[in-house]
Symmetry: C2
Subunit: 407 residues, 2 copies
């Protein structure tokens, strides 16, 4: 069996983490900043050193291609190297650098695969600076017009197009020109399940559909002492009631349904005044579109019922809505098979977070490999995955890509 060089992978992760390093061991490399450019330059240098044909496309996606014996559709892996403002060192970077280790192993063994092998990193996966997130892979998969993507601006008014030009990453390639035979993304779980269950490899079957709604509730501000309960029109009460209902709903629906009230602001927010305004969000996710729609409908019905009883007005604003993505069943099976062949424990699971792979599934068979995140921490400088787990995931990736590249 061809072995992946674990020590080289860990060294590369350390080296990339120096760029944009922040206190606590994390990274801040927001998309298209100087730090992102420095990270890109480093990884492109590594691609060149590995003998890859580096292709940069018009939205700044970078693909390093290793030629095969035949000019067939390549087997592609990849992820992203941008981070959130207080990011860890594994989210995204791990998948990209493990892909380069796959190439290094092939080079070292002098293997020329039947199909080309490609390693990509996509622009602005995090969405921490520019919306939408997964912007580069979305453009790559034909889901977003290039000019629309260029126009996306950060909060200071800097656009993706201007910033791409500024850092020198508007390439000549057409996004999506290289249509993969298969795409496999290796990533940390960013959730606690594998760590909690002491499972080594997550076999990712799907990405949860996401429904984000912001509600603005208008009630009547009244004295907390002099206003009888029956006369109250408490905007905060509705928000609280939705939080409690959402928890109950998720528990009742079970499966992969999750529901979160993460943000809430009350006005006037005083101890002795009934709130006349509440703005809060509901985040619903499920891997099953029908169930997600059901959850949305039940939350809406609860809100309507409480709003009528409390005599408050509620305005809903949909902030995001994505249908679930189901990965290629055959490719998912093969992730599981290769992990088991290495005597690694596995667990089938959905991804609760979004990934570039979900965009690639639009244009080719796609799957993902998850490795554990200690305590589920991610988007946090304390994000951590044990070296043995990093090595195990990369070896699964290598074995699967080798098989795909020979077919």
């Amino acid at each position: 069996m061809l072995h992946l060089d674990e020590r080289h992978l860990l060294g590369a992760l350390d080296e990339l983490a120096v760029i944009g390093a922040i206190e606590g061991g994390g990274c801040a490399r927001l998309a298209l900043t100087d730090e992102d450019r420095a990270g890109r330059d480093l990884v492109v240098g590594w691609m060149n050193a590995l003998g890859l044909d580096v292709r940069i496309d018009a939205i700044g996606n970078v693909i390093g291609v290793r030629a095969g014996q035949e000019n067939l559709a390549p087997v592609m892996t990849g992820s992203h190297i941008d981070t959130v403002r207080t990011g860890g060192r594994y989210d995204g970077n791990y998948g990209v650098l493990a892909g380069l280790e796959v190439v290094r192993a092939l080079n070292a063994a002098g293997i020329v695969t039947r199909r080309p092998v490609a390693v990509a990193f996509f622009t602005n996966e995090e969405g921490a600076r520019f919306q939408p997130d997964m912007l580069g892979s979305l453009v790559y998969a034909g889901g977003l017009d290039l000019n629309e993507a260029y126009a996306a601006a950060d909060k200071d008014g800097h656009s993706v197009g201007d910033e791409l030009r500024r850092i020198g990453y508007v390439g000549p390639a057409e996004p999506g020109a290289l249509r993969p035979h298969a795409f496999v993304e290796l990533h940390i779980e960013q959730g606690p399940i594998l760590d909690e269950e002491k499972v080594q490899i997550g076999v990712v079957e799907s990405v949860q559909g996401i429904s984000w709604t912001e509600y603005t509730v208008t009630g009547v501000s009244n004295h907390a002492g002099t206003t009888p309960m029956r006369l109250r029109r408490d905007a905060g009460y509705l928000a609280a009631s939705v939080n409690v209902f959402a928890r109950k709903l998720a528990r009742e629906m079970g499966g992969n349904q999750v529901a979160t009230v993460g943000a809430l602001t009350l006005r006037p927010n005083l101890i002795n005044v009934v709130p006349n305004r509440a703005v809060f969000t509901v985040d619903l996710r499920n891997t099953d579109e029908a169930k997600l729609k059901d959850a949305e409908a039940r939350v809406a019905a609860h809100i309507a019922e409480v709003a009528a009883a409390e005599r408050v007005d509620v305005e809903a604003s949909v902030l995001a809505r994505f249908e679930p993505v189901i990965f290629d069943a055959g490719l998912v099976d093969r992730v599981e098979r290769h992990a088991r062949a290495l005597s690694l424990s596995t667990r089938r699971m959905p991804s609760g977070a979004g990934h570039d792979a979900q965009m690639m599934q639009r244009i080719c068979p796609t799957s993902m490999i998850f490795v554990p995140s200690v305590a589920g921490l991610s988007h946090n400088v304390r994000e951590h995955t044990d070296a043995a787990d990093l090595a195990a995931g990369a070896q699964v990736l290598l074995n699967l890509m080798l098989e795909l590249a020979e077919e």
Copy 2:
């Protein structure tokens, strides 16, 4: 029957409302500011013009005394003329100026009552600038040491003592030196009950006890997509659960029990992150101390239960705790009798807000007369009471004081 001059009362309310007038028809006369001094000077001038013996005490309480036939304990009325930052024109002022109209009516009729009649306004009732609220009447009733009261400072570090000296209202009288035969305070309801039920006079039997607690909840911040419901330690969920529980508790307990979650702040307060911190307040009030204690215990038990299930830590900090005040039963009956004698509709009720009268009950038989607040609005520039209701309340005060002053 001696008639109270409604037009003069309304004119005086208008004239006082000019001082510190703010947009929308309200007033901003925070305690011991230049505006408060101007208001005090105006009312003291009116007291002098009415021939009252004006006595200013060491905490700035002002009492205008009209001599009686005998040197007995006086019948006293009064309230306050300080306001909150966005106050109305009736809260407090109405009771003070109606008291002056009682004197004017006695003067006009040439009546010399058996007992002296006194009209007071107390320092810093609102507590909007200096804590505690009802500071002047609390000192008057012996509940707060004078030097402690002087040391109370506003958020800019200005003390009550310094500000009293600055505006020239440290008087020679000893607070509480004049011990009334009875104290009757006329006030707007500041709640919606009388307005909603179309009742003219509120016969105030008691002031609700108040229990204010701030809770700080510490959970764990996690990804809203990747964290299964069973692994969450959601600080915001506990806060929501307490809000819903408090509503249910107040409904179940019925009577005068009210419960409010008025303030809540989540951290990090993001749509897709389980909150790791929630700071929220619970305001519980009841006229029955045993019931208030029961409500406190049930909220605490609910919090303990949810905190254990959610595996979050909760710290409680008591911000305020006052026992209910029960007014003198005989004097309460007499408010009702005098209102009915004028063919006014009445309703017995507690006060949900605090008033100077609750301090005076410590040293003499006390009661209160409420008139309707349109829509229950108070501490609001739109605070309003119809002229007919203002006149009716003042007439009840006049008749009751006249009776008390002859005994």
